[in-house]
Structure formats: C-alpha cells, structure tokens
Symmetry: C3
Subunit: 153 residues, 3 copies
C-alpha cells in the first residue's frame, strides 16, 4: 500500500471564503502514484470545513447567508429574528469568555463538516460531473492548514 | 491491497426519497473479496446524501419535515415562520437565477453530508444493530449516481 | 496492508455528554502498528456522534444549547420560539409513536455526523494543534458502542 501526505496553508483575505481545491487534491493523487484508493481532505483547524459542491457562486453566497442565520456570529448584528434566537442565551458564546470571537465558526464547522473522502479510480478523483472540492474558511486572515492524505495502490 | 468500485443509478419516483442500500453496500464488499478494510459510499451529485440511521419510517418522515424547515425549498410555501426567515433575503436562492429550482437540495446535502464510510470486519459491514445505510434523494425524478468503493485485504 | 479493530463501550452518567477520546484513538493506532494510513472512528448507534473540535468546555456548552434549539427534544419544554417551531407539526416526533423519546437525538446525530477519519502519519494521529476527538452522546445512560478501525502499513 502506498501513502502520500501533503499539507496546504491558507491565509485568506476575507474572514470567510470558499476556495476551490479540486486541482490541489488531484495533484496530491498524481504525486502519490496511487491508481486505486482513497484521498482524505481534512481541515486541521476547528473553524474551517471542506465541502464537495457545485462551483457556482450563487450557491456559495446562498450557503454563507444561510450559515450566518443557523450559526449566527456575535461580532455582527444578528441577520434576523431567527438568527437572534439561535444565539446563545445571554447573547454571546461562552467560548468568547476567553477573548475569542469565533464561536460561530466552530458551529459552522460542525454543519459543513471538516473533511471529505474522495475515491480514486484509475488515478483520477472519482467525482460526479458537478462535484468540486472546496476549502471553507470561517475564521481566516491568518495561517490555517489542511492535510491531504492519499492511500492505495 | 484490493480495491473494488461499483456504481448505482437511482431514478426516484418522488422528488425526495430515502432508499435503503445496506444490502447493495454488502454486495459490493462480497464482490471485492475484502475481509478487512473500509467501504466508502458517496453520492456523485450535490443534491443527494448518504445517511446511516434507523430503518424506521417515522424517523424518515420526521427528518424530511425538519430538513424542509431548516433548508426551506422556495418552490413551495415555507413550512412555517422559521422556514420563511431561513429562506434567502429576497425570498429566493441566488442559485435559481440560472433557472434551477433546487437551491434547498444543496443545503440539505450539506446538513446530511453526501457520504459515509463503513468499516469492513471479517467480510461484513461492521454496523451497530440499528444502523442501516440510506441514499437520500433531495432532487430526484432523473438519473443520479452513487459510487461504492471498497479497499482492504 | 494492516487492519486493526477495537470497540469501546460508553455508559454515560448524563443523557447528553461529550467524552474526549483522542487518547483512545491513538492507543488503537499504537496497537495496530500502522505508521501510514487512516483511522475511522464511528459510533455504532444512531443517537451518538463523533466530533473533532477544541477541548474547551465553553464550546461544548454552546454547542449543546444550540443543538437543543435546532433539533429540539420533545421530552422537555422547547428552549425558545424557534425551537418550538422546529419541533414536528403536532408537537411530537412520529418516531415516538412506538414509545421512544429520542427523536431529537437522531437529528442531532445527523447534524454532528456519526464518524470522522483521522490521518495517521509516522504512527501518530495527524491532527492540528487544537483538534481533539470527542464521542458525543445524545441519548446515554445505557451501553453504547463505538468502533475504531485502523488501516495502513
């Protein structure tokens, strides 16, 4: 069995950003020489996720608006009445007692999930025609790491 | 290391449907000859998920009603006031500007997640007594594919 | 390829509890002798999850409060107006018709997801500095099992 591990570091301009990484994942598979196996793509931070979805800007904007309603940030006004009620009782996250302000990013990470596995078949990512892999930053503007691990033969 | 890949195509009668696929996944493991390893079960579309849960119709109905509140479709009236507020501002998904009407299915896919990994031990899916594997269609009535990839020895 | 499987049984004091299991997962990797590969950590019940997040009590309390709003239990009063509207129409889960009272735990399991995969590099869990692995019990006070499966070389 072959195993190959690479890391990527992101430092996004925006606090929240979607970054397409399909080609980085394929590059890691190419370097590994694996023809049949799986590749794990996993954020190494707890305020970032990995999402397989359509590379369509409307979906990404829709998802970010919706995530802000379901897991509202407390560093900006609640998006609407639902978001306000989904904030913690008292209006701020307990996690912020230590000086942090990214409590919402931990919950967004839970919703989006921090990792995906892509099957590798004949040396290629075995994705459907509209599936692209995205790194989802929810608390950026500083160095964050991602691990890509390929195993197989 | 052995690797074995199969695909299944679904064309559901309903737009949204839960389909039990535990036996299809076990069949793929049987064909692979793998005794110890893992099997990845992953939707190849971005409007369908894979869920491990109880094969109990009440849970499935509960989950569909709840998903419609959390990720409301805009092609039918909002289920209630919360669902209406969780729709995008303006009332419709940006993704629909190109003529699509499945914006909610992308968000349901995010909540349910599009894949699971099942451990394979002694040639069998190593599931708990109430765990069954379901394909979760959120935008059906057309051909959709699923990949099942077994690796191991 | 090596494969190694271990199981852990939890019987929590509280109905809902977060239990750190990073060290159990590393111990399974140590026993396996795997230097390069992956380890799957997966709840064998459908009312429990596995979460990779910060080992910070504030986050865990925040998450439990928030999960109770998004996937409200019907065995205690709804946390607020949003939680009340996210309960099923009629006020109780269809799943409870058979005498169960854990309908919310199935939905929390869907949100948190029941499994994670951790890459193994040089014999160590390849986690980021703040990533810890937690077993997330949503319907405890009875025996529940978890499977840890390591594969690699």
């Amino acid at each position: 069995m072959k195993a190959h591990t690479t890391y990527r570091t992101f430092n996004t301009e925006q606090r929240r950003e979607w970054i397409r990484i399909t080609e980085d994942v394929q590059a890691a598979v190419d370097e590994s020489g694996v023809e049949e196996g799986m590749v794990l793509v996993s954020a190494m931070h707890i305020t970032a996720g990995v999402w397989v979805n359509d590379d369509e800007p409307g979906i990404q904007e829709d998802a970010l608006e919706w995530l802000d309603k379901l897991a509202p940030p407390s560093w900006k006004p609640a998006a609407n009445a639902v978001a306000e009620e989904l904030l913690p009782d008292g209006g701020d996250y307990r996690h912020h007692r230590g000086g942090e302000d990214n409590g919402d990013a931990h919950l967004k990470n839970l919703l989006v999930h921090h990792q995906v596995i892509v099957p590798v078949t004949d040396g290629r990512l075995d994705l459907g025609p509209w599936q692209a892999v995205f790194y989802c930053e929810f608390d950026g503007q500083r160095n964050k790491r991602l691990v890509i691990k390929v195993i197989g033969d």
